[in-house]
Subunit: 116 residues, 4 copies
């Protein structure tokens, strides 16, 4: 379980104590998600994926990956909290929508991005 209410409350206090709520516009939080996503991606910048998940087995690398993943999750939770969005509901709805968009029998084993 992710206790997003608990995390959202911690983030509200964090922002309130620093008077940072004023900076938390939709655009700035979307910007922050993108910035943190770039920092996560940087950890794999030159990788060609050949080591698969062994790539995150080293403890120091793993820690950095966890920190970036956490940053992204926290900004997603902050955004949803500010906008009054129910993350569990929209995530389930999106999975259902993806299942309809990519029927298993038509997309098996294919990464047909270009063919869409």
């Amino acid at each position: 379980m992710i206790d997003n209410q608990k995390l959202a409350t911690l983030l509200r206090s964090f922002a309130a104590e620093r008077d940072w709520d004023q900076f938390h516009t939709p655009k700035n939080l979307a910007t922050s998600i993108s910035v943190e996503a770039g920092e996560l991606l940087e950890l794999f910048q030159w990788s060609r994926g050949q080591k698969d998940w062994n790539e995150v087995s080293d403890a120091a690398v793993r820690r950095r990956v966890e920190d970036e993943l956490a940053d992204i999750l926290l900004y997603v939770i902050r955004f949803a909290d500010k906008a009054g969005m129910d993350l569990q509901a929209i995530a389930e709805r999106k999975i259902a929508s993806n299942a309809a968009k990519y029927p298993a029998d038509q997309f098996r084993g294919s990464d047909r991005k270009y063919d869409e």
Copy 2:
């Protein structure tokens, strides 16, 4: 609550049914988070944040924002599931680490990114 175990299980089935697990390397999932973050950001590309959270009050805009936010969350959950990372634990650890990095009395009301 976000039932990330439930969502992770749905995502595992989704990938297995399409034989897409092979594409889910750390780099490709980090790439996917970045791509979806870019799609969220695009919804605010020309905004200057002046409407604050009214910017997501229109139903059609709101729906698009929710879908992009869901995509990001789902890839974060998929990444953590593949890597065996505990999202609640790393999120709480990151909030504690941010609190130490940005003492409230030194950063109040300031967006001093440039001064770091």
Copy 3:
């Protein structure tokens, strides 16, 4: 003028001297552009654009912006060099295509992203 041939030649030597050409796949260079774009964006993470271009008047900020902009440009030039693409030609073609997509009389003063 941007002497992209000169810059591409410098980048070729740079990669050859470090045996880094092997890492310069299309995906890795696209990744690098995204990573650097995130670093540029980070410099404006909490800005709400109110200072307009005065935001880059401070010498230290300006220098950081220039460095990130340069990184992006260099990866774009490297990508085009590896792929044999003519940047001037594709840039002019894209401007013409944008002009057709956004007729001036229909889009004047509007940031109608949501209406597309």
Copy 4:
């Protein structure tokens, strides 16, 4: 050669005709570069780089890659034009700075991002 003056002039007219100059703040142009970088990256989302540069040999793929690359370049040129930055000068300066940061004899054949 990239005739960035010519392209910058075309972009100025493009913005003026639509009264879009007001949207071209540093943050919004940095946002736009990130958004377009995400669109380029999406074309390689599931790739593991195994086809190397054959990945962009298909004409339709190539065209999409060119269009995204052009968008990024155009926003870089627009940013530099608005900020009064000399792209050739800052690109050459950045290559020199990178050469000092990554001495060839210490980084040969290595993608030591994690060791930095």
